[in-house]
């Protein structure tokens, strides 16, 4: 299947070509990793400010309050609050999770796990990172201008996001920033799809790819198809703001012509619902692999898992209407969207069963990546099942736009993806940097994070069930929410707790990467048979000296007839017959 001859180029020597404008997928992956961590910290800090405001409305933020909001004496003002939750959403989705799972693991794992020397278009890969960088800079700049950044919610529904709701340049910069990010994502997606199709090592059929690759590949397909849809929406909204078109203007905003704000919601959610799966599919893939690796047992129903991931990918494209029940679409549309949404639970149930089947009768090693993977099973179980309430049109009448929704989507696309991301970082750290992260700290990190995030998101679902709606600067001007004050405080404490737990991770990561005289990890510290563990750690420039020839699947563990003394087989070894 080696369609394309892959040359070995000399390793770059200067700092500039090695670390800055690198063509090497591994360096680009690390660039994305740091990029994601930076934005993750910014987005995390924003969430802390949001939670502070909800726990102590009107109380100045300690330490940094006076520096950030001098005009109000350190209290978060309402307009800043709107900006905070808008940018928290934007940053966490587009500038943290996407670069971490797709930018970092996509770049790092795809060539290594399919046995290629690099991405098929290295230049495109580099451009993809620098477009993301440009997009990040524009977003960061928008925080520093008068009137501040975008404050219309991450969904930026018109007409709030048109000039009447957002007079500042911040919203326009937000649109431009996301458009640039869309270009970056599309470039990455074209690269990933083509790489997986053309550069798989000889013998590596689609059903011999690790499930991580399946997840990343399906994500790339969704990205290539749906990010341009967002692009179109963003461009039209930009035209409305800058060139005076009237696509989404109505009511007071429409001084001359008239448009329809709901059009934007359609375009946004046609992209927005697949986007949820764009974020979660790589995490599912990683978890499916890691469960098998650390249960020392082949992935249960590998083909079924791969196919159900694909089925979800297809279904995810036709369910977007469930975000728009309250806009009162036609009953026929509403019901079709509800039915289609419900169908997603079938493939989900199947791969959940397969996950549990994988650890059934395994010999489970509770290393940190495994703990995080098991954590994903737990939190995604909660997140997935709570989706059933929201898919139902009548329950949605009550729960739409409440904290129940916030809790639900944080469970699915924040908690699961974050835990999956951590699992990936702990797992591939030896291959990326040639060093193992400290296991004790990692385990502490896991348990504290688990307690924290479940406190936050379970609390959110509870207050949502109590009727508390979203995006309120001070919810407690409503009398029916007064009794929820203690629970809100509890959520905030959990958030501070979870945030504090991340210090362990950051310390561990920086120590592992930058400490001097750190013990080197071997070639294959976890005892796993996929292709990347047959080469040196950290992976050498151009990965494989000889392109490997794949002979068996990625999850060959515990074969009773193995004679090598190992309990696993490398993918380059002929499958031992039982």
């Amino acid at each position: 299947m080696a369609f394309v001859e892959q040359h070995i180029h000399d390793a770059p020597t200067s700092f500039w070509s090695k670390y800055v404008v690198s063509y090497d997928h591994k360096v680009i992956a690390k660039q994305f990793l740091w990029y994601a961590l930076f934005w993750g910290l910014v987005g995390g800090l924003m969430s802390i400010l949001i939670r502070w405001t909800l726990a102590y409305p009107g109380v100045p933020v300690p330490l940094i309050g006076n520096m950030l909001f001098p005009a109000s004496g350190g209290v978060v003002p309402p307009d800043t609050y709107a900006m905070l939750f808008t940018l928290h959403g934007t940053i966490m989705i587009f500038f943290f999770i996407t670069p971490l799972l797709i930018g970092c693991f996509g770049n790092y794992c795809i060539p290594l796990m399919i046995g290629a020397r690099d991405m098929i278009f290295p230049t495109l890969n580099m451009l993809s990172f620098w477009f993301a960088m440009a997009s990040g800079l524009v977003l960061f700049a928008s925080l520093c201008i008068p009137l501040g950044g975008a404050a219309g919610g991450w969904t930026s529904y018109p007409t709030l996001s048109t000039n009447i709701g957002q007079p500042g340049a911040g919203q326009t910069m937000w649109l431009i920033s996301l458009f640039l990010f869309g270009i970056s994502s599309t470039m990455g997606a074209v690269n990933y799809i083509t790489t997986v199709i053309t550069l798989r090592a000889p013998g590596m059929g689609y059903f011999k790819m690790p499930l991580t690759i399946w997840g990343l590949w399906l994500t790339a397909i969704l990205n290539a198809i749906f990010v341009p849809v967002l692009g179109a929406g963003l461009l039209l909204l930009t035209f409305d703001r800058v060139f005076g078109t009237t696509f989404f203007l109505a009511g007071a905003a429409a001084t001359s012509g008239r448009g329809d704000p709901i059009l934007f919601q359609h375009v946004f959610w046609i992209f927005g619902h697949p986007e949820v799966y764009i974020l979660i599919l790589p995490a599912w893939g990683i978890v499916s692999d890691l469960l098998s690796f650390f249960a020392r047992k082949p992935a249960f129903g590998y083909k079924m898992t791969a196919l159900s991931l694909s089925a979800i990918t297809v279904l995810s494209t036709v369910v977007y209407g469930h975000h728009m029940y309250t806009t009162q679409m036609s009953p026929l549309l509403t019901q079709s969207f509800m039915t289609l949404t419900m169908l997603i639970s079938i493939p989900s149930a199947i791969f959940f069963a397969n996950w549990l089947g994988t650890i059934w009768k395994g010999s489970i090693q509770f290393h940190s990546p495994m703990l995080f993977s098991l954590g994903v099973v737990f939190v995604f179980g909660l997140g997935g099942l709570t989706g059933l309430y929201l898919a139902s049109t009548s329950i949605d009448l009550y729960l739409h736009d409440t904290y129940f929704v916030v809790g639900h989507f944080h469970y699915t696309m924040a908690a699961s993806v974050l835990l999956g991301g951590f699992a990936g970082v702990y797992f591939w750290m030896p291959k990326m940097f040639g060093r193992m992260m400290n296991e004790t700290l990692a385990k502490w990190h896991f348990w504290l994070t688990m307690i924290g995030i479940n406190g936050i998101f379970m609390g959110m679902m509870i207050v949502g069930y109590g009727g508390m709606h979203r995006r309120l600067y001070n919810p407690f001007i409503y009398e029916f929410l007064h009794k929820l004050i203690p629970i809100n405080n509890f959520i905030s404490y959990s958030a501070f707790f979870a945030a504090a737990a991340q210090i362990l991770f950051i310390y561990n990561l920086f120590k592992t990467v930058f400490a001097k005289n750190y013990p080197a990890a071997g070639k294959n510290p976890w005892g796993v048979g996929t292709l990347e563990w047959e080469i040196d750690s950290p992976a050498p420039h151009y990965n494989f000296k000889d392109i490997p020839v794949v002979k068996c699947g990625p999850h060959e563990f515990g074969n009773p007839n193995l004679t090598t003394g190992r309990d696993y087989q490398y993918q380059t070894e002929e499958l031992v017959k039982v």
Partner: protein
């Protein structure tokens, strides 16, 4: 890092995969615009609405002809050996198309159709703006082909010609659809 010479046949495959994916991406962007168009059109009480009653007819027709001709010359450019003349024709027609678009926008404004007149005029403008933006991008690629044809003929491979060609024809098809939707039907 595109390799040349004997590996060219193999390169063809990866590039055609990549180009197909790219065109699907671009296609999705334009389809979202078209989706918006159909939503607006089917919800409109009357068609064409008063805002665009006196749309210019001649200029868009000329643009369509020019676009069609340039696609034809591009097909010839891919097949025939007299590359220089055919390239010049394609590039010239591409530039002419852009000029015609500018004239179109001027005549729209002159006949009182402004982007701020409502969502249908907005659509006429935004569609043509976006398409013209892509034409500029495509012309840059064609210019790069021109550089290869005139100055570095050894660097010119079929893969490059075919892929730029795909993009060019794709924009031609998009223009034809836009022309049908906005100016004819």
């Amino acid at each position: 890092m595109i390799t040349k010479g004997p590996a060219d046949e193999l390169n063809h495959f990866k590039n055609s995969v990549a180009m197909t994916v790219t065109l699907i991406s671009f296609g999705m962007m334009f389809s979202s615009l078209f989706l918006g168009y159909f939503l607006v059109r089917f919800n409109a009480p009357a068609w064409p609405p008063v805002e665009i009653e006196n749309l210019p007819k001649l200029l868009p027709f000329l643009s369509t002809v020019v676009m069609g001709l340039s696609s034809w010359t591009f097909v010839l450019l891919e097949r025939r050996t007299e590359k220089k003349a055919l390239w010049s024709a394609t590039f010239g027609l591409g530039v002419l198309f852009l000029v015609l678009q500018f004239l179109l926008w001027n005549s729209l404004a002159a006949s009182g159709i402004l982007a701020s007149n409502g969502n249908v005029p907005s659509m006429v403008y935004a569609f043509t703006w976006l398409h013209a933006g892509h034409i500029v991008l495509a012309l840059a690629l064609v210019l790069w082909l021109g550089y290869l044809i005139f100055f570095r003929p050894t660097g010119l491979t079929d893969v490059k010609l075919i892929n730029v060609g795909k993009f060019w024809h794709f924009l031609g098809v998009i223009w034809f659809l836009m022309y049908l939707m906005l100016f004819v039907l």
